[in-house]
């Protein structure tokens, strides 16, 4: 039993900013959706169903926002699905939408990931007290800092690798008009001199808090073949999860992450990801996660991922494996959209529409997202050729 082919036909993003005070949540998602429809040369009438993802509802304190956003997304009377997988949700949302097309349930699906962090308090939401645990964990940085500390010790990587990643991603962001942070005068020294927040994580090595939405129109083969603009074919998809605390857990390179990547490569027929994948958009909210994920995803041996950072391999300018040409999560973090942006930017690269941040000749790109305590994973490979 074969499955339908699925392709990315349209992509739309809002400008990411700390406060998009000019629009409501509804206005925010509609802006991204309109851009995706225009890119796909479609109208609301062409869409069969909508899939929506965002971080947990208590971030903004609006329960089940998909219900009141249905109107703004033109899907009154149409099927709508909400996806929940914490920080990886933007990626999972794209995968759920892909499934709807591949299963032949819908021909054209609009998917949207969003967050309006200006109307929320993520630090509070991620520090909720529980009776059997002391309330001293300071948000996501407090959680990931001990994991990064272990990686630094295991890999014996030079101390400033994280700063190199942060500086690189902020340079990339200058080429992306949608990116939140445009720090054109930023110097590497400023990144290094930035204060420690969650030692060993500096302020400069963390993601910003952003408002924004990212939308994609996915279509089946007939729809994609009829499109005027280039499309990005979904060649492989994988999702995995694991508990965030169990005996012997490798929290630096979780089993679920490694298995998710292996499943992806098996589907795409990839033997050597470093040679066969042209660029990556990975979920890197704290700079050290770039080398950590490069290892976990099989682009470097364990403990060696930092070398790709150090030798410039992951730079847009001259690197052979550019990572996060969009500026990454380190330059824009509307949480629920952050995974969607990774998946969408990978597709933009394959379509050759990434403008100033385009990598030459991308045939195959990987989009990646993770969430929770580095326990939920969503990944896809998109390419210029049909799978």
């Amino acid at each position: 039993m074969g499955k339908e082919r699925c392709a990315v036909i349209g992509i739309g993003q809002t400008k990411y900013a700390s406060t998009r005070g000019d629009v409501s949540m509804a206005g925010l998602v509609r802006e991204a959706a309109y851009r995706a429809l225009e890119d796909a040369e479609m109208t609301w009438q062409d869409i069969d169903a909508v899939v929506l993802g965002k971080a947990p509802d208590f971030f903004e304190g609006v329960m089940m926002p998909e219900l009141f956003l249905a109107d703004a997304l033109g899907c009154a009377g149409k099927p709508m699905l909400r996806v929940h997988t914490a920080g990886s949700v933007g990626g999972s949302t794209a995968l759920v939408a892909t499934t709807l097309v591949q299963a032949g349930i819908h021909d054209r699906v609009l998917l949207v990931g969003f967050e309006k962090q200006s109307e929320s308090n993520a630090m509070w939401a991620l520090s909720l007290p529980q009776p059997f645990s002391v309330s001293i964990n300071a948000g996501a940085g407090g959680y990931f800092s001990p994991i990064i500390r272990q990686y630094m010790e295991v890999s014996q990587a030079p101390e400033l690798i994280g700063c190199l990643v942060a500086f690189k991603d902020r340079q990339h962001a200058l080429k992306n008009p949608y990116a939140h942070l445009h720090q054109k005068d930023l110097t590497f020294e400023q990144v290094v001199d930035s204060p420690m927040l969650w030692e060993p994580i500096r302020y400069s090595e963390t993601c910003p808090s952003s408002d924004g939405a990212c939308a994609m129109v996915l279509g089946n083969e007939a729809t994609a073949d009829a499109a005027d603009k280039p499309v990005a074919w979904v060649q492989a998809t994988a999702m995995r999860s694991e508990a965030n605390n169990f005996p012997g857990r490798n929290d630096v390179s979780p089993l679920a992450s490694r298995q998710c990547a292996q499943d992806l490569y098996r589907q795409a027929g990839i033997q050597n990801p470093r040679a066969e994948i042209d660029m990556l958009e990975m979920y890197v909210p704290f700079s050290w996660y770039e080398p950590m994920w490069l290892e976990s995803l099989g682009f470097a041996e364990d403990g060696q991922g930092w070398r790709l950072v150090e030798d410039g391999s992951t730079q847009l300018d001259g690197g052979d494996l550019p990572v996060n040409c969009s500026g990454g999560v380190l330059s824009s973090n509307p949480i629920g959209a952050s995974g969607t942006i990774r998946f969408a930017e990978a597709a933009l690269q394959v379509r050759g529409l990434a403008e100033e941040r385009q990598v030459d000749g991308v045939r195959r790109a990987l989009g990646h997202a993770y969430g929770g305590g580095a326990q939920y994973f969503a990944m896809w490979i998109v390419g210029s050729e049909k799978p």
Partner: protein
């Protein structure tokens, strides 16, 4: 600064407000703080843990599959999807699996002086860690593998809450080796259990720092 992003065509036209509200001040945002109080029903394992904790005892649970010890116990071994019913009492000593030196205040904890150390505490005989505050230790002296012990609140302040332990302080004993600290030590602990050198029912004798 960067390329202009055009508005989507459908949104490019300015919004025309009806005449009667054209001059009304625009509301861009409204803050409506809310609160929600609820009773916490912990379930069997967490209740047993909290009850014992109110007596300054620390309870864990043992996996029926391979003997791994969970603290705090949640009534389940998530690796195998099986219930855990056997309780194990653990000492209030252990080591630091890893830690964070936090420089940012967190909501509801104005009492914490910055910077403070939050650490994953692995009790002797336990196979998972939990978060604890480290005190009586300079931030520069804290290490992965450092041995620590609980500093309890005064007896008249003990309740059924994780806040019973004020913080964990260094014991001064030799560190647990990095490759045996935290989750990395699990395989070695399991091997010790298997060959009888450190049976899991006597957590203290399985102390990885004693080697």
């Amino acid at each position: 600064m960067s390329a202009k992003i055009p508005k989507p065509t459908a949104l490019a036209k300015p919004v025309q407000l009806p005449e009667r509200i054209a001059n009304v001040e625009q509301v861009r945002s409204v803050r409506t703080p809310i609160s929600l109080n609820y009773d916490f029903i912990p379930g069997q394992a967490a209740q047993a843990y909290l009850t014992a904790f109110g007596e300054k005892r620390i309870l864990g649970q043992r996996s029926p599959v391979d003997g791994a010890v969970f603290v705090p116990p949640r009534g389940v071994d998530p690796r195998f999807g099986v219930a855990t019913t056997e309780y194990v009492e653990l000492p209030d000593k252990g080591h630091i699996g890893s830690f964070c030196v936090t420089q940012v205040p967190i909501p509801g904890r104005d009492d914490l002086e910055l910077p403070y150390i939050s650490a994953w505490i692995f009790l002797d005989g336990a196979d998972i860690g939990f978060i604890g505050l480290v005190g009586e230790c300079d931030t520069a002296d804290c290490r992965i593998g450092m041995r620590v012990e609980a500093v309890w609140k005064d007896d008249d302040q003990i309740a059924q809450t994780a806040e019973n332990i004020k913080w964990w302080r260094p014991t001064g004993e030799p560190d647990v080796a990095f490759d045996q600290a935290g989750g990395r030590g699990f395989a070695a602990r399991q091997a010790a259990r298997a060959d009888g050198t450190g049976h899991a029912s006597q957590p203290n004798s399985a102390n990885p720092a004693s080697q």
